[in-house]
Amino acid sequence: AQSVTQPDIHITVSEGASLELRCNYSYGATPYLFWYVQSPGQGLQLLLKYFSGDTLVQGIKGFEAEFKRSQSSFNLRKPSVHWSDAAEYFCAVGASTNFGNEKLTFGTGTRLTIIP
């Protein structure tokens, strides 16, 4: 069975500083990987996804993530954060089945706080 670990429960970053959120996964085959963001009181918004190909993927809102098979990681990065980036971030892994990701397993999330 697949699993996802987000080792950082809470991160505080100054506005304008760079950001990296860590995600490690466990899955026996090629994983489908996702980052979602959840603002307070909101549903989940898909930031980016990795299925195959280029290991550096670009997403919305200036985010990117890099898939490193050797490290079983899919870390999320942003070069300069904005106050509006304050939210909860979830990494997820999907089983590679016919549709790709029926069995989405989520990490426990990282809460991002932005300070002026």
Partner: protein, 114 residues
């Protein structure tokens, strides 16, 4: 992308009662799912909503407690039955759009059971 709506957005219910949550999508979808997010926790898959047949439940979730219907491709309901305070959570539906592989989520239904 698609517009995914859920009704109600929030509710406060008394223990022992039931609540039915609706999920509607404005595009063709191949799969629909229901998740639970307990306070301060991550998301847990409850079940896959299958069109015209019984839902496929994950370990720890049963049909008697969480009956699900999906009468057509773009609509599904989740009922939380015989509620207790432990059922207080956010319930989210998600979909895989036709031609896509990733899941998109609705805004969620925040349920409080007193």
């Amino acid at each position: 992308s698609a517009v995914i709506s859920q009704k109600p957005s929030r509710d406060i219910c008394q223990r022992g009662t039931s609540l039915t949550i609706q999920c509607q999508v404005d595009s063709q979808v191949t799969m629909m799912f229901w998740y639970r997010q307990q306070p301060g926790q991550s998301l847990t898959l409850i079940a896959t909503a299958n069109q015209g047949s019984e839902a496929t439940y994950e370990s720890g979730f049963v049909i008697d407690k969480f009956p699900i219907s999906r009468p057509n491709l773009t609509f599904s309901t989740l009922t939380v039955s015989n509620m207790s305070p432990e059922d207080s959570s956010i319930y989210l539906c998600s979909v895989i759009l036709a031609g896509a592989y990733e899941q998109y989520f609705g805004p969620g239904t925040r349920l409080t059971v007193t």
